[in-house]
């Protein structure tokens, strides 16, 4: 249980010339949920992009269960067991729901209970109803379920969710929250990027706060709940109750 599922050490990343991540470091315990928090532009999505290989870290180390993955290609990193539910969902619009799932199927032999289309449909019955529909015609909530299902089809060792509640109705947000809890119960290690702090701290064991590309907090999620000063300074413009 003490094993580190994902660890970042002193990671520096750039978009062109602009230095976005300044030595970010944190680690996710196996089977745990880590909430990655921060204001817009704090570097959360850049951090995710660097982990999945869209960006190459200029410096620093990224390890997946001890194996270095920093700077590998996205397909290689995916095959090693990083699953991504990206910001904006990015489902394949011209593929059917079912095709979106089957193209992402991999690593079936890496686990005793691999995900398959049938299990995804059990998790999200709406997707079964829509299985032959083009994914581009789904509602936002359905697309989010599909994006989560697609990531699970790769049987990831670590699942990265980048703002899964963004732009969704409250009822759907609650469903996304329940799904994340259920995956956690099944032992899935998760990094959860969220603007919705409530949702994130509700399920997270650990929390990391980024501010302008630096880690300003890394610790237990529960420590954050009562630390108004830290929250006001790094997350909220207002601290609303």
């Amino acid at each position: 249980m003490a094993a580190e599922a994902l660890s970042l050490t002193n990671v520096h990343a750039f978009y062109g010339d602009s230095h976005i991540l300044h030595g970010v470091g944190f680690s996710l315990q196996a089977g745990g949920v880590l909430a990655l928090l921060g204001r817009n532009g704090a570097g959360k999505t850049t951090c995710i992009s660097t982990i999945v290989g869209f960006l190459k870290p200029k410096e620093g180390e990224i390890r997946l269960f001890g194996e270095p993955i920093g700077g590998l290609s996205p397909e290689r990193i995916s095959r090693l067991g990083i699953g991504l539910v990206p910001q904006g969902r990015r489902i394949f619009p011209s593929l059917t729901v079912r095709e979106n799932l089957i193209v992402a199927q991999q690593r079936e032999r890496s686990t005793e209970k691999p995900w398959n289309v049938e299990r995804i449909y059990e998790l999200f019955p709406r997707l079964r109803e829509r299985h032959a529909q083009f994914a581009g015609t789904l509602s936002g909530g359905e697309q989010q379920m599909l994006a989560i299902g697609r990531a699970l089809m790769g049987n990831p060792r670590v699942l990265l969710l980048d703002e899964p509640s963004e732009g969704l109705a409250p009822l759907i947000v609650a469903e996304v929250g329940r799904t994340i809890k259920r995956l956690k119960q099944e032992g899935q290690s998760i990094v959860l990027v969220e603007q919705n702090r409530q949702l994130a701290l509700d399920v997270a064991d650990q929390a990391v706060i980024l501010n302008t590309g630096r880690c300003v907090f890394a610790g237990n999620a529960s420590e954050l709940l009562n630390n108004d000063a830290l929250i006001t300074q790094n997350l909220g413009v207002f601290h609303a109750h």
Binding site: P74, E99, I102
Partner: protein, 288 residues
Amino acid sequence: MQFWIIQGLNSLSLGGLLFLLSSGFSLIFGLMRLANLTHGAFFMLGTYFGATALRAYSGLNIWVTALGAGFAVAAIGGLFERLVLTRLKTNPLGQVLVTLGMSFIISDACLVLWGGDSIPVPTPHNLQAPTRVLGFVFPTYRLVLVGCAIGAAIALYFLMERTRLGAMIRAGVDDRQMARAVGIPVSNLFTIVFCLGAGIAGAGGVLGGPILSAYPGLDADMLPLALIVVILGGIGSLLGAFVGSFIIGFIYTFGTALFPELAYIILFLPMIVVIAFRPQGLFGRVGA
């Protein structure tokens, strides 16, 4: 009446041949956003390979030859894509210039290797006897060619729309980066698509041989036809390439028979009209 029916059949067989030429062009253009101007040269290479093999070994079957030439041209295309084109992913002008340059190189190499005279490709013995339908006499080989094109169309449709591989390729077209993030090796798949497109052109070159013969300039005759078909039918649409091939087959055959001096006007005018007024083509997606 005889004239119309015979020319109608000629149109169909040219349409079938054009589909074998342009389906690969359309796949490559639609999926990789790459206007492969080497495509006519791939077709011509196929014809020369076929002519050489069939004349050297008289017992050789044209279908086996087409398959072999298809694989050979696919291999050449694959090397070209891996070694050169992958470096030009974000450089469309570079792609146009490089593929055009490659086409000139292939065409000159063929001239050196096979000389300037046209080399006829023999029609298979068992298809030399004409077929009689409703009192009209048809060249059997041309009928079979139409069947080949229909078979190829069905196989390609099945591959692209009904298999996991096809879905992975389409996922790579929808969102290349995201496809990679779910583990799809997009650049390998694009190489496969390029090989497939080049291979169909090469095989089509062999099958077109008995009608066209192998001659210098065959590439330059075929490339504009592929362009017109794909623009008319819609870029990246297999159905569009199929329908477009037969439309162009008819326009070209009847145009050259009735108004021989206006052939290129009859051919290119529809293309210009389509580009100006319906840029997505007959079956293309908007913005494709």
